[in-house]
Symmetry: C2
Subunit: 128 residues, 2 copies
DNA sequence: CTTTCTGCAAACGATTTGCAGCAGC
DNA sequence: GCTGCTGCAAATCGTTTGCAGAAAG
């Protein structure tokens, strides 16, 4: 099982690269052109396994964005009213405190942290 | 539209109160006894609107836990291998740094933060 | 009685999958 | 040719909803 970088896959990656926030499937279908829904889903799975895209699950639907290795580590603003998700760059002080906080938890639980997610949940400018 | 605290609703709350992690629906059905699936869903919506339970959306299904006002603020360990979710109490130093980090973001974006989520993503003891 | 709750079964919507044809190597 | 990719339509699965009866006030 080896995989190709087909034009379709490239198109999906480019659509995601052009966005400043995670995209839901209908958005990918619109922005990319002439993509079949099922193929997009299939390709997103492939790309996810390849570590190229990352899936974010929200209440209504999944959203997809390029993996952090490609976009830089960041966090999300999530609007509870309209469902908007926006990227914000990670603050370095915060990352450091998080690293400090993680260690004792790992020791206590045997959990091995690979990455983390920090989401700020509230209302966006438009929904205030 | 006013609502009652029926035995069924109480049963759901008690099941959630007895767990140390967010539960998926099948788990609630097993632990609670004689509950109909649709009624549990409906009651969870009611309880969610009442601010008693909180819904967490994962890749496979929704999970539910008591609201933080009742359980204390905490974060989650999420295992990417088996889907397990476990609660961890929030570290106070971390909360403080997060508060510091949030302010400039709010100023820059006009976003109003109501709450936040911090998830540690990795592998649990059993899946290591 | 009127309103809310319940269970059942049917409906729904996002995602997945089976299949047959096409394209890359 | 063999293997992987694609689109279409059908299937799947968690969740929601319509309905008629039961329970609460």
């Amino acid at each position: 099982m080896q995989q190709r970088l087909t034009p379709k896959r490239l198109a999906i990656v480019e659509v995601l690269a052009g966005a400043s926030r995670p995209l839901a499937l209908p958005e990918i279908l619109e922005l990319g052109d002439g993509l079949a829904q099922s193929s997009v889903y299939r390709n997103l799975v492939v790309l996810e396994r390849a570590g190229v895209v990352h899936r974010i699950v929200t209440a209504e639907a999944s959203r997809f964005e390029l993996a952090e290795e490609l976009t830089g580590h960041h966090h999300h603003l999530i609007c509870t009213s309209c469902g908007m998700v926006e990227d914000v760059p990670a603050a370095s002080g915060l990352e450091a405190s998080l690293a400090d906080a993680v260690t004792p938890v790992e020791d206590a639980t045997g959990f091995r942290t690979k990455t983390h997610r920090i989401d700020l949940v509230g209302l966006c400018k438009n929904c205030l």
